[in-house]
Symmetry: C2
Subunit: 405 residues, 2 copies
Amino acid sequence: EINTERLLARIEALGRIGALPGGGCKRLALSAEDAAGRALVTGWFCDLELDVHTDVIGNCWAIRSGHKDLPPLVMGSHIDTVATGGLYDGVLGVLGGLEVIESVIDAVIETEHPLAVAFFTNEEGARFAPDMMGSGVSQGALDLEEMLAKVGIDGVSVADALDGIGARGREPVSALAPCAYLELHIEQGPVLEAEGTEIGVVTGVQGISWTEFAIAGRSAHAGTTPMALRQDAGAVAAGIAIEARAIARDFGSPQVATVGRMRFAPDIVNVVPEEAVLTVDLRHTDDAVLQAAETRLFDTAEALASDEGCTITRRSLARFEPVSFDPDLVGQIAEGAKRLGLSHRRMPSGAGHDAQMFAPNCPAAMIFVPSKDGISHNIHEYTAPHDLANGVRLLAEVALARAGV
Amino acid sequence: EINTERLLARIEALGRIGALPGGGCKRLALSAEDAAGRALVTGWFCDLELDVHTDVIGNCWAIRSGHKDLPPLVMGSHIDTVATGGLYDGVLGVLGGLEVIESVIDAVIETEHPLAVAFFTNEEGARFAPDMMGSGVSQGALDLEEMLAKVGIDGVSVADALDGIGARGREPVSALAPCAYLELHIEQGPVLEAEGTEIGVVTGVQGISWTEFAIAGRSAHAGTTPMALRQDAGAVAAGIAIEARAIARDFGSPQVATVGRMRFAPDIVNVVPEEAVLTVDLRHTDDAVLQAAETRLFDTAEALASDEGCTITRRSLARFEPVSFDPDLVGQIAEGAKRLGLSHRRMPSGAGHDAQMFAPNCPAAMIFVPSKDGISHNIHEYTAPHDLANGVRLLAEVALARAGV
Ligand SMILES: NC(=O)NCCC(=O)O
Ligand SMILES: NC(=O)NCCC(=O)O
């Protein structure tokens, strides 16, 4: 039996770090708030006398040893948030994993495989692109040196930010080699709530493509420059944003497209922008479709820029192919839900997750619980206590089955 | 005879204050650079033993007394720049006026009316909206207290910025009451150069409408939120930018429309923007057409926001009706150009100017000289020395005729 009160108290305590006035949290990766969050969570790891490790990109995991000298069953996720984040995204998977281990200790249960709980650096990608950076480096999908050199939205590099909060550990890349990886997470979308289903059995993660476009035009006077003589970088940026929308509309669900960032320079009312930078986030479950969306977006962007006499450059900030989770582990989650009497459905994940970085190296899978109004990356993100508890009970069920009692 | 070397040397000296790496200037209104520019120019005023005055909004003028106790003939413009400004916009009218006065002193000419040269606070509107703030307050078109309370792009009020550089003077509003106002300025557009005409005789200024739109949506996850459930403030902003362009296209020349500023929040790749702010600058020579453009823009903005489930508010940052300059003074400029053997044409101004604030109170008019490639509000803004000299010679010709020798 898990202790829901203890779980909720920990979620609340972590939510106070970086709390925003209207609710929710801002705990950007490797910020001072992230440092405080890491200290709180590793403190809980130490309270349980777990064996705590940190690797060279700041991923942290805590192991409770098993009967045998076997690779650990790892439960994990992340504790960084976006700038307008909620209390559950990532946190549930980490504190849920901790709750499983503490319950197992309380119940004096011994497992064959060690049980571990982990949190990974910069899953959100909100300060540093790409997202899933820590788990990607740990599992060999992303290059350590390349990631350490990435510069965030505030001009600070990952390497400097890591050292700035003392989060760079000694464990090498690939030190964490699970027998299986399980991630409990809030759905962050509307499906489970709308259907009244208690559990999402996640079959995989859709492909993610992040592109930054930088457009260079010519600053000019807003009052004296005839429309035909303009090289308006801002107008090209607006056109690309509209095209992203049109792609999502024309391709239809599950294609989504988002322009999250937009910046003009010199950013003055009566000056035609000479520079504009924007990002486009495209996602689809089918990589061929995602590639078609990218091609259309890139072609239109080039055409819009050229029509306006502007130059355009694009930079890939993140590109992850769709991932399918391990069918056996996915099946075990569905069976576990059935055993616990929880209604459930198979579904793909719309968001990227650390689990997808483990999928090529070991059996990996995920459990979703409902998100109120399908909202996430929003301070009003919410999942009801009974749903949180359902998720952790199922996580415990599958983890114990997999680790061997 | 005017001294072109002296004029060019002063333009260069002022251009070194706030000089940008690639050329051009950044001397935003009431900034430290503006303070240094003011000190340099008033130093030149003092060298000529002119009678220097500063008013409560920081407008500064210098008088050389005339024979008689009459209102002064004022030549003026501004020395503030946009963030990517050139060396001539505004500066030419101030240093040209100074050159006229110094040449008159050198030639030991006495005038009936005093001659004055003036520079006005925050003509550009780049830091604080509206533009033409100082001349507008001086001439009663804008309210002093309301303008002192305006907050700039950096969050500082006009009142604090004035005091921050010690630019608040003691002369009251309307202390400057010219018998006539003359402003020499670069065209900032492509007409004169394209035609090979030496002088623009400015008949008036087109109407200016600046609107800031603030759109409130809902932040949401870029990967998990179906397109149909989004309240994307950024998508609405992009739609408004596209509509501004469409209005300029559909209305045709001389309608222009510019989106100079654009900002998203939280400004993160994988978060649907919950907030977007943008500005639209609309201009037309006919106020009825300008009103029709505003109506279409406002209606479309409301419709786009409502379709997306967003709320939208708009704020007028500046609204000036078209202005016609004094026909007699305009005629005198055309005759002066003829006398000096300068090719000239009548034309409206696309840019706003301090002269338009004087037009309701005294005869006011303007002289344009060509802008290379029609570029302004750009670091590559340029007018050739002979064109600068032509403008100052014509300014002297008309000023002396009007002041009475
Ligand atoms: N789970 C989650 O919000 N991950 C952030 C990465 C992304 O999907 O953009
Ligand atoms: N002359 C000039 O550039 N004035 C700035 C005001 C405007 O036209 O926007």
